[in-house]
């Protein structure tokens, strides 16, 4: 019954465009209207911790779903990885030797705040792996999240910085360098079903749908990494 | 320091009289000279005194608009006891501020309507219309008050207070910006008639002593934060004169109306006919009316004078004399048991060889009597 089935999905702002791409297909097969609320994962976490009536939470990281799980605000075993973020370095168009460019870059380097944003901490790990973290300390300019880092670069106020590959894909840009995944811990984006959920069953369907091979392939085109099969096994998929 | 005297004998000395009783009222201005005041529950009293002497402060303290301590009761209600006072709007009074303080952002009509709406004794509509007409406010009713001329604003402010018709009405120089012609010929007669119909206790502050004389029978005098008890007008006039005011001292005399003919009023003053020709208002035969007689207008002769344009001639007895600051002599005369003053020059005094107790003739013109 479509009338009284509304699925309220809290989604990290960065994943919203991707979600919107894959949703129509889901809605065609399920008699459910999906209502999207996007925001920063931190805000959404706060809201769910204070019993916001969401049916599904798509976080941009792993920490907050974990925390929610620990605090018992989510259905047991609902936590799953649904996408893998890929870190990209926005660089001036003409460049070819990226590592050297990063080494010798004299100007500001933009990255999302490593303390609060997953792409920020990934950028920090990458810089640390490259041995540049200490050296470039004074040149780092932090934005609130990856989205704002992109805005900063896109508006021309900075020429070098770390963004999400999905953003570059969505904007159709090619002046980025996909950082080798060994330079940073995987940016696992996880989902949970809050205990407040009124439609846990439908939420589960959506979670399964997102993790389906078809959607994963779509996500790969949108700038997300390939989800290794192990994740669904080690994290123990939900059984309904 | 002034000594405070009860006004109307025993009636007002007891504290449960119905009028206004003020005892030991102290503000920051008169810490050394607490104010005492006993007034009946209706009647018009003047209040005058030098600039900065504390008149507005007194009115503000009565209205509870100025920090003070002491004791105030009106109509058996305590308004102030020690430091504690009744809130202003609960006191059955109205106060006209020296600056008119009309309610800005509204028209004159709004101002008046508001005052009437919150009146405890609202006037009948017919009365309001009559006042509006007499004050010449009708054409200005719908003008925003910000655009009124100084005198117009004052008239609206006075009218607003009349519309409010409180049992105690305090006025602070209410008509100082209105031309004298209008004040004397239209506003004061209107006010006098109004308060005859709607009695209230009125304190009328003014620097124009004529105004006070034409309205009030007694006057309070404030000087350097010293408040006198209500004084007869001629005493206040004398104080003003001794401060060197150019206006001569006028005395209030009372006489019985005999006839009114072609603008000339014939009066009986202790059996002698006197004439007055500058009269306003309506006089009825047999009424006792009050008039002002200017001291400087009176001339004294030793013999009964011959034919002259001076109409009035009264046999008088000289009872006292006083040298004035500017070299003239002020004589206190009595006739028909009334006292009045005449000012003559030192030279005349010597030429006529006047002596206390002597019988003389006081001459004054019909125009020297100003009708109340």
């Amino acid at each position: 019954n479509a009338d009284n089935c509304t699925l309220r999905v809290a989604v990290a702002a960065s994943f919203r465009p991707a979600l919107e791409q894959v949703l129509p297909e889901f809605e065609r097969h399920h008699a459910c209207v999906v209502q999207i609320s996007s925001g920063s994962s931190g805000v959404l976490y706060q809201q769910i911790a204070h019993r916001a009536p969401f049916d599904l939470f798509l976080s941009a990281d792993r920490e907050r779903p974990k925390l929610l799980e620990k605090q018992g605000w989510v259905l047991g075993n609902s936590r799953q990885t649904y996408a893998l973020g890929l870190l990209a370095l926005w660089h001036p168009k003409s460049e070819s030797n990226i590592e050297q460019l990063l080494q010798s870059w004299p100007d500001k380097i933009v990255l999302a705040d490593p303390k609060v944003a997953p792409f920020g901490s990934a950028a920090r790990q990458a810089l640390q792996s490259l041995g540049l973290w200490e050296k470039k300390q004074t040149q780092l300019a932090c934005t609130h999240n990856a989205g704002q880092a992109y805005l900063m670069l896109d508006s021309g106020n900075a020429q070098l910085g770390f963004v999400a590959a999905s953003q570059m894909q969505a904007a159709g840009r090619d002046n980025f360098w996909l950082l080798p995944q060994h330079l940073y811990n995987p940016i696992e984006q996880q989902l949970v079903i809050p205990t407040q959920s009124l439609q846990p069953e439908e939420a589960g369907f959506l979670a399964d749908y997102l993790r389906s091979a078809k959607v994963q392939a779509q996500l790969h085109h949108l700038g997300y990494g390939v989800l290794p099969a192990q994740y669904s096994e080690t994290d123990g998929g939900r059984r309904l | 320091m002034e000594i405070t005297l009860p006004l109307f004998g025993a009636a007002t000395t007891t504290s449960d009289s119905t009028g206004l009783n003020v005892a030991g009222l102290v503000t920051s201005l008169n810490a050394a000279t607490p104010w005492q005041l006993n007034l009946p529950d209706s009647g018009i009293f003047g209040l005058t005194g030098p600039s900065g002497s504390g008149k507005s402060t007194l009115l503000a303290a009565l209205a509870g608009q100025r920090h003070c301590r002491g004791h105030i009761t009106f109509a058996n209600t305590v308004w102030q006891r020690g430091h504690r006072g009744l809130a202003t709007h609960k006191r059955t009074l109205s106060l006209g501020f020296q600056d008119s303080r009309l309610f800005s952002g509204q028209s004159a009509a709004d101002n008046l309507a508001l005052a009437r709406r919150y009146s405890r004794r609202p006037l009948p509509v017919a009365e309001c219309d009559r006042l509006l007409e007499a004050f010449g406010i009708e054409p200005l009713l719908h003008q925003p008050v910000e655009l009124l001329s100084g005198g117009e604003a004052q008239r609206v402010a006075v009218l607003r207070q009349l519309f409010n018709n409180a049992p105690l009405q305090l006025f602070d120089e209410p008509l100082s910006a209105v031309d004298r012609a209008q004040v004397l010929r239209r506003l004061l007669p209107t006010l006098r008639d109004f308060w005859a119909r709607y009695p209230a206790l009125v304190i009328w502050t003014s620097h124009d002593f004529d105004e006070i004389q034409l309205l009030a029978q007694r006057c309070l005098w404030m000087d350097s934060a010293n408040l006198s008890a209500p004084l007869p007008l001629h005493e206040v006039a004398q104080r003003l004169d001794s401060r060197g005011v150019g206006d001569s001292c006028r005395s209030r005399i009372e006489a019985r109306v005999e006839s009114l003919n072609d603008g000339l009023l014939t009066l009986d003053f202790g059996g002698i006919s006197i004439f007055a020709d500058r009269v306003t208002g309506h006089y009825r035969k047999g009424d006792t009316a009050a008039f002002l007689l200017e001291a400087g207008d009176i001339s004294l002769s030793v013999e009964k004078p011959g034919l002259s344009s001076i109409l009035n001639c009264l046999p008088v007895t000289l009872i006292a004399k006083q040298k004035l600051a500017d070299g003239r002599i002020r004589l206190q005369l009595t006739a028909a048991e009334q006292v009045f003053y005449a000012d003559i020059s030192h030279l005349s005094y010597e030429r006529l060889q006047l002596y206390i107790g002597g019988p003389y003739f006081a001459q004054f013109k019909a125009g020297s009597l100003t009708g109340l």
Partner: protein, 240 residues
Amino acid sequence: MNIAIADWQALWLTLKLAGLTTLLLFIIGVPLAWKLSRWQSRWRHAIEVLITLPLVLPPTVLGFYLLLLFSPNYAPGQWLSHIFDGPLVFSFTGLVFASVIYSLPFMVQPLLATFNTNGQRLIQAAAVLGIPPWAALFKVLLPASRAAIVSACALTFAHTLGEFGVVLMIGGAIPGETQVVSIALYQHVEAMEYGAAHRLALMLMGITTVLLLAARWLGHNLAPRGLNSEQVKPVMGVLG
């Protein structure tokens, strides 16, 4: 212009929110400012400062504290949700509640300034005619303070329109319920939908301009006739 239905919905919601908040704040702010301006105690200053404090916290942080206040996990939130017959988080009522707290200084401060300068004299003039204080406030003080009131309301309204942090934190951006235009706008920017963002921003500013101009025109024309006529103007043209 091509504006999505969701945006129209957000716009309408925002106007409703701003209008309601302004109205409520007028109802709360006028008596509050007036009481404060009459209060002779030294605590008055303390309370005036207290009213300013919502301004000092970053909106998101204020939202965070409001979230704690509204949280059904604690007593105040339970009590509030009892009073308002439903949880405040994620509801329009909650948004109004939060906006009122957040925008309080915008209403109260300008009113206080006028009441302090002109209020005393007018209230006195009313009191000496036997007009009780409350009547004096409505019949004397308000008509005389038209300019300040229009300015205070305009400021409040505009500020509520642009409110974002608090709303995001406690509203959850639910379309039609709590997704106001500032959030929609923010999301457009974050999602790199610049065209939509520009259109919406333009729209928002256009509507506000019209509303504010109408308010001024009203304030102007509510004044008694004649006051605005050219006769009051002093000479301004300078002689050649």
